[in-house]
Subunit: 153 residues, 2 copies
DNA sequence: AGATTATGTAATTATGAAAGTTACGTAATG
DNA sequence: CATTACGTAACTTTCATAATTACATAATCT
């Protein structure tokens, strides 16, 4: 399956924005991210609905952080993206009347629910300020830019 | 993303096999599962490598459970499928030198690792016999067969 | 006012992984 | 030796994410 990298991408954008005071254009952000400005606008557009960023048009316009990073958790960002699907593993047939199917779905479902709860709990415990601090602890090299990308495991 | 339903599918197959003493052909299993015999052979072929099932060719041939279901955990089945990818959410760029990227990957990675550990721990605690028992507790209707299928959330 | 710079979005295309299908080889049985 | 089944490679289909194109709208600067 192709993994959804929107959360990773948007966090990357936000932390880069945190390094600047002036608004950054989607063009500039796209270059940092090795992607297309439209992708940036789509992602940040979702965050704007939740008040995490603001945007301005025209000369000197662009995107700005709209909240204290200490008050924004990883979970807030996840939610702003409208709860992306977490698991790559799914049930074969959600609505079957087959009892075997239902038992499988039920038992697996319990495990996935527990794992999801733990994951989201962790997300709530990490603020963007924490992540930004983590960046500065290791600050030495400059950002670089290569394509690729993948999963956890 | 399209969710991977192989684990769900193969569990479905195994629990159906548990209801029969004779070997079942991939043709018969495919019909129960509303899928193609080749798909069944592919899935069960992976399980055979781990000794979970056995197969025989020719007349009267087919697939048989090769282990006591009490001794096979959900994790064993997961592993037999060669550790399918668990998460639909991934890092944008696994190998970037960008420190922001690395911080994002690291922080998110910790949460995902914790969730994965919990999920797999749960998988280890459930045997196929447990799942089979769960089926029999609710045994009343007959298996039925409709297509579709999806995720958790 | 009018040129320029940005965002806002719809529509289209590209990518990649799972799933399904076809085709044919191999082995075991009646 | 015909039939039944597995064993697999190769190909096609499906579908969601990501990237791209195209164009509208709004704000700023000269």
């Amino acid at each position: 399956m192709k993994t959804d990298s929107r959360l990773s991408g948007v966090l990357h954008i936000l932390l880069h924005m945190a390094e600047f005071d002036e608004p950054l254009t989607s063009e500039a952000l796209a270059q940092m991210m090795c992607t297309n400005p439209v992708v940036v606008r789509r992602l940040l557009g979702a965050l704007r609905k939740e008040g995490l960023v603001s945007s301005e048009k025209g000369h000197g316009g662009g995107w700005r952080l709209a909240k204290d990073l200490r008050k924004v958790s990883l979970y807030d960002v996840y939610r702003a993206l409208e709860h992306p699907k977490i698991f790559a593993i799914g049930n074969r047939n959600e609505t079957s009347g087959c009892l075997v199917e239902r038992a499988v779905n039920h038992v697996m479902g319990e495990s996935f629910e527990a794992a999801e709860a733990l994951l989201l709990q962790r997300f709530k415990e990490v603020s963007l300020a924490d992540m930004s601090a983590h960046v500065h602890e290791h600050w030495a090299e400059k950002p670089d830019c290569t394509k690729a990308g993948q999963s956890h495991q």
